[in-house]
């Protein structure tokens, strides 16, 4: 792997609101050309971090470096970042062209160059021919494309995206996700993306930052986060997970696809099948173990022989054990 430059570095950053919400002691490095996602439920502080990078809120302590320069005391207009919000990005009293040109005019870019750059950018986001329209004449997805185009026209060091697709319907959202990935790879731009949708995070990111209650729980690639959740919280938040009480206050966690229903010599435990739901290429099986219910995903062919109320022996292909504080033991 080649050595990549660090584009954005946040060190020991804290921002607390008067109501106690906020983030504490955040450390984060984003490499050049990387697309990193801040993932977590609402109120976990992911947007707070993004807004401190963009300059819309100040920090209580700590440093934010972009290209090695501290920016935490600069207003948004002086920062080399560009932001796309969830909605209301565009100015409804200006045409699409004027929306796109506004930032470049402030930067005193010559008229001809502005026109050429807007042309190229509209091609990139597949929105040619919409220059003379007003934002309200465009669909939600088209508006977000224009917002992304406007952000990219500024040639920012870091592109910040604050749940840009969550107001769109599912089909358009998936499409926009692919578009963004394509644009990001074409321009090799550094992106910090905020979302509460883990599927979106998994699909888009080089690395995911899982957040909980104003702190970072785990940073890693999508596969790493899924396969090695370092805390109980990450285990419960990412993907599906079964939890069973273990010994001495510990908890055992197993992914549904890691529960094997077979007659192994050394079964983990015995269970009774309660439900069988065929879901296409796999079957969801509900299992009762004592007072607990487990969910297992069984390949279609293996599920054919299963019947409700059957007794089965379970093997855990892979399991995680967490201590009472939620830390990973094994």
């Amino acid at each position: 792997m080649t050595e990549q430059n660090v584009k954005l570095r946040i060190s020991n950053m804290t921002k607390r609101y008067s109501n106690g919400d906020g983030v504490s002691n955040i450390d984060l490095e984003v490499k050049e050309g990387e697309i990193i996602t801040l993932l977590g439920p609402s109120g976990c502080g992911k947007s707070t971090i993004l807004r401190t990078i963009g300059g819309f809120i100040g920090v209580d302590q700590g440093e934010i470096l972009i290209d090695g320069h501290p920016v935490q005391d600069l207003p948004p207009e002086k920062r080399p970042t560009a932001m796309v919000f969830q909605s209301y990005n565009l100015w409804p009293h200006m045409t699409i062209y004027d929306n796109l040109a506004f930032g470049l005019q402030i930067k005193k870019v010559p008229k001809k160059e502005i026109a050429a750059r807007i042309d190229r950018m509209l091609q990139l986001v597949h929105m040619e021919g919409h220059e003379k329209k007003y934002p309200t004449q465009l669909s939600g997805g088209q508006q977000q494309r224009i917002a992304i185009a406007r952000a990219l026209l500024l040639e920012p060091s870091v592109l910040l995206l604050d749940e840009p697709f969550s107001a769109l319907d599912a089909k358009i959202r998936a499409q926009m996700r692919e578009e963004l990935k394509r644009i990001q790879q074409a321009l090799k731009i550094t992106v910090v993306f905020v979302t509460h949708d883990q599927e979106e995070a998994m699909a888009l990111s080089d690395r995911i930052v899982v957040m909980n209650k104003g702190a970072i729980e785990q940073i890693g690639g999508p596969t790493e986060i899924y396969d090695c959740p370092r805390t109980r919280y990450v285990a419960s938040f990412i993907g599906e997970m079964n939890f069973l009480p273990g010994e001495n206050g510990t908890e055992v966690a197993v992914r549904p696809e890691d529960i094997w229903l077979d007659d192994a010599l050394d079964p983990e435990m015995n269970a009774v099948i309660r439900t069988i739901m065929p879901l296409g290429h796999y079957t969801r099986v509900g299992l009762e173990v004592g007072d607990h219910f487990l969910r297992a995903y069984v390949p279609k062919t293996d599920a054919a022989s299963l019947r409700v109320d059957d007794n089965v022996a379970l093997t855990f292909h892979k399991k995680y054990v967490y201590d009472e504080n939620g830390g990973l033991l094994q």
Binding site: E77, N89, L90, W91, H93, F102
Partner: protein, 279 residues
């Protein structure tokens, strides 16, 4: 063509519609009959009892009014005053409206309600109190005094309606502008102000019209040095022939009508009601 009878209308329109039409017709009568009467008086050269319509139409009274120097100067005074009052009120109230819409500060709600105070008391009592202060400050009979009084009267519209307009501008729209490189002032001038302009226009129209028609306060603190048309109208009731009044009423109506026609794009229930929402 057959003339519709009440019966055919009743069944043709349906009961609900028929009643609505009747109510609408009554409303029109109440609204436009006085105006029609005013017009007949203003354009009636000869109008003697017991005729319903003037015997002779013409511009006799218009000529009479326009020949009176005091009336012409009253018209000019009225318009100049209304323009100044609107501008001063804009300068004071738009920043206040923006602050109320965007920032939190101690005493905000009291500050917000203070703009309603001038409308919470009987006007005459308020003017008498103002007059007492004005005597001490030597503001009686001065332009400054009258302008201040009109501005105080219009502060409610000018703060509350633009405040609603500023609130309806989304924060992200301002933040986007900051993000692409505009400073706070440029953001306000290029984004926030244009987006709030419909509301500000409505407020300005109200202010202009309120200033044009204000009589009591101007009479109280401006008389006899500053005479606007409404003030002059009081005198006319005593001194001039009755038909000069309708002519002046018409002159007062013209700007109101013009402004309402020009501004009708902006004047909507929505833009006004937003201003009176409590958040």
């Amino acid at each position: 063509m057959k003339i519709p009878t009440p019966r055919s209308l009743y069944y043709g329109l349906g009961k609900a519609n028929f009643i609505q039409y009747i109510i609408f017709a009554v409303f029109l009568l109440f609204f436009y009959l006085p105006l029609a009467n005013l017009m007949m008086l203003a354009f009636g050269n000869k109008y003697e009892m017991p005729a319903v319509v003037p015997q002779e139409f013409g511009f006799k009274w218009w000529q009479f009014v326009l020949e009176q120097n005091s009336l012409i100067s009253a018209i000019i005074t009225s318009f100049v005053l209304a323009v100044i009052v609107t501008l001063v009120s804009l300068l004071i109230c738009v920043p206040a409206a923006y602050a109320l819409a965007r920032f939190d500060f101690p005493g905000k709600s009291i500050f917000q309600f203070s703009f309603l105070f001038s409308n919470a008391f009987p006007k005459m009592g308020l003017y008498i109190a103002i007059a007492i202060v004005y005597y001490k400050l030597n503001l009686m009979g001065t332009w400054l005094g009258v302008i201040l009084l009109h501005v105080i009267n219009t502060m409610m519209f000018m703060t509350w309606i633009p405040m609603g307009a500023f609130r309806s501008v989304h924060r992200q729209q301002e933040e986007s502008a900051r993000d692409v490189g505009a400073g706070p002032f440029l953001t306000f001038m290029k984004i926030t102000f244009p987006l709030a302009l419909p509301g500000i226009t409505v407020a300005s129209i109200f202010t202009f019209l309120a200033s044009i028609e204000e009589a009591q306060g101007t009479l109280m603190v401006g008389f006899p040095d500053i005479k606007t048309v409404p003030v002059e109208l009081y005198g006319i009731i005593m001194q001039y022939p009755t038909t000069a009044g309708p002519v002046l009423s018409f002159i007062l109506l013209i700007p109101a009508l013009l402004i309402l026609i020009l501004g009708r794009k902006y004047i909507s229930v929505d833009s006004i009601s937003k201003g009176y929402n409590m958040h």
